[in-house]
Subunit: 395 residues, 2 copies
């Protein structure tokens, strides 16, 4: 185990903490670019509360609304232009993962020399990470991506349908104000997709990480067990603030690095899903619910011991060591059944995807992330035909 | 659940990382106060490696050695005087928890107006937290206190035998270089005491925290299970680098806030032990091994459900809910047996403490931390006679 880790983001967590927004932002700037998605933050009254808090603290607000569910490069470029021309000195993200991701890249693009697409992970030649960004304050309105307390962002190039990501030190939010009250109006389906997203963040490192990280295993299991205990309550009754709080805290921890540290894990399930949502604009969490169990069945063949541990520790399935294919299959089945029970799709047809473009998805996925052999990194690494096989298994 | 959390320390973890010390320190200063304890870092060659790395990076070294196992106020004052008179601009701690704690307070005392004792938690009038400190770099040579990645320090006033603590934002280390190779020469007993110390950090928040922190519970259990799996291997064969690494990572996480965040827990077992080690200069972890199981039996009476969860999740003891006093007792017995199995004392007589001063220990403990009724905060809070009862149960 060998790693370097630092997460400088301050998190302010709890019901009602959005009232601190103005004070927090005013310590970082005087003119805020307020980045939002669709109209839900306006309908819920959250937008108005945020603006009031900012204005009361002497912070003026420039609006950048309309961030798409799968945020686009052109949107990010537009946001950076607004921030520059208006002289914004701080960026506030008020929304879900897409809004926060876009806000981070906007904050960095303000100072970036050239096309911000050159920041992205998949760029082969002349890739250049951003080194400077406007201060970023995140206020998530959905428990899902964990973007509020990490330095990552996922962006789609609308021209090429390539979805890629970037993670840079300057993109760590200064402060994340995580107020579970803001999530009580999230509809059942989005709540369920968020739960699947957060669980998938930790299953990625759990199944794709290096051996010899037993404490990280325990932390991942803790996130999954907590999400499986409290998630269904949040789905059943969106106004259950206790359930909302537990799910949201789990979503923060699932991708702020505490679970992944030292695992050196690739995120193959995310990479495959990114291609699906780039092509079809489906909710990221819904796509993960389809891909993750299918991927698990594929990966379990080469790494059964790890999946046996999952079955045993998450579902209390009794395992006969060293190898128990029945227990392994049962663990994955139970996980898939859990996703269905909270309302997630587990077949491509349920999200309107057929078999016409399977090879294209595989090709695009490998385009964004590949090893020397052209395979998608992960445990195991996957050829394009492996990816097709996995997707075909859940048509 | 409501909290604010930020831990800005960068951690560099892994065997051999001490070679990065010079480079890391030179980014923070040019003249280092190198704080060390007794002679073990010199005997093991670690001191020489550190100095070589520092000098090679152009950092000159001023030595401040002789930090005691329970570091004293007078030592801290001496260290700050050396740093000031020599014009040191960075403080490097190379040693165990005592050395790191002393180094942190030295770094803050350099700029502190007045007696550094006025920083401490128990000070009633005119307490003043430090607001500025020299950059601190920690290099732990023992897996135990977690001091390398938090802002806390415990200091004893040698004149009054009062042991108190301080935690201030400026005392977060800039960088913690955590190299498990440095711990392979730690003797069996100190290894075991460190394991007890790290486990006790998480049992404190597990048993004394507020209700409604299920993810923090899982994380605490993860730390305990990992320490119980790998700790005995590190005790059995000190050169087992894999075991040393797992125990050390667990010790970092046990008190860098990831487990305690949002629990608002008092640390009554630590407070009681601090008094014992202030009076008798016993190793902190050995004192904890005596006090913790005894405290658990006391606390379980008023909070049996939480101890039943401990029995079930840590020792796989089958629990009959809602109340199962047998399972609760069995869980605590098994925990005490584990401590004994790795060589920890579990009776006061084993660390040379008799019954002559029980009331004095209780009085001194409550002097440092008390609520409005004069009780030691915790779950439950403890009167002086409660503390005497707990200590008397393990004479």
């Amino acid at each position: 185990m060998k790693f370097t880790y630092q997460n400088p983001t301050q998190i302010i967590f709890g019901a009602g903490t959005i009232s601190q927004l103005g004070e927090v932002v005013s310590a970082n700037g005087k003119k805020a670019l307020l980045v939002t998605g669709g109209g839900s933050v306006k309908r819920s009254g959250t937008f108005e509360r945020a603006v009031s808090s900012l204005n009361a603290a002497g912070v003026s607000v420039v609006e950048c609304s309309g961030i798409e569910p799968n945020p686009r490069l052109s949107t990010v470029v537009r946001g950076a232009e607004i921030a520059r021309s208006e002289g914004c000195d701080v960026v506030v993200a008020l929304g879900g993962g897409s809004t926060m991701d876009a806000a981070k890249v906007i904050a960095a693009a303000v100072f970036y020399d050239g096309d911000p697409w050159n920041m992205m992970f998949h760029v082969q030649e002349n890739r250049k990470l951003p080194e400077r960004a406007l201060p970023i304050i995140t206020v998530p309105t959905l428990a899902a991506t964990g973007s509020e307390m990490n330095a990552g962002a996922v962006i789609t190039d609308d021209k090429t349908t390539v979805k890629s990501f970037v993670s840079a030190k300057c993109m760590y939010p200064r402060v994340a104000i995580v107020d579970p009250e803001l999530t009580v109006s999230v509809p059942k389906d989005q709540t369920a997709f968020g739960i699947c997203d957060l669980i998938t963040h930790v299953t990625e490192s759990y199944f794709n990480g290096v051996d010899g990280t037993p404490l990280q295993d325990r932390f991942a299991e803790g996130v999954i067990l907590t999400a499986m205990e409290w998630g269904p309550k949040a789905v059943a009754d969106g106004r259950d603030l206790e359930a909302r709080a537990q799910v949201q805290w789990a979503s923060v921890v699932a991708l702020n690095g505490w679970v992944q540290v030292g695992t050196l894990a690739a995120f193959p399930v995310h990479m495959i899903e990114h291609t699906l949502s780039a092509h079809h604009d489906i909710p990221h969490g819904a796509g993960l619910a389809v891909v993750n169990p299918a991927w698990m069945r594929f990966a379990a063949r080469s790494n059964p011991a790890r999946f046996a541990q999952f079955a045993e520790r998450i579902f209390n399935i009794s395992v006969r060591y060293p190898l128990d294919t029945e227990a392994v299959a049962e663990g994955i089945n139970r996980f898939e059944a859990f996703l269905r029970s909270i309302g997630c799709p587990t077949r491509l047809s349920q999200v309107g995807i057929g078999d016409a473009l399977l090879e294209r998805y595989a090709h695009d996925t490998v385009l964004v992330a590949h090893d020397a052999e052209g395979h998608l990194p992960g445990r195991p690494s996957m050829s394009e035909s492996d990816i097709v096989e996995v997707l075909r298994s859940v048509l």
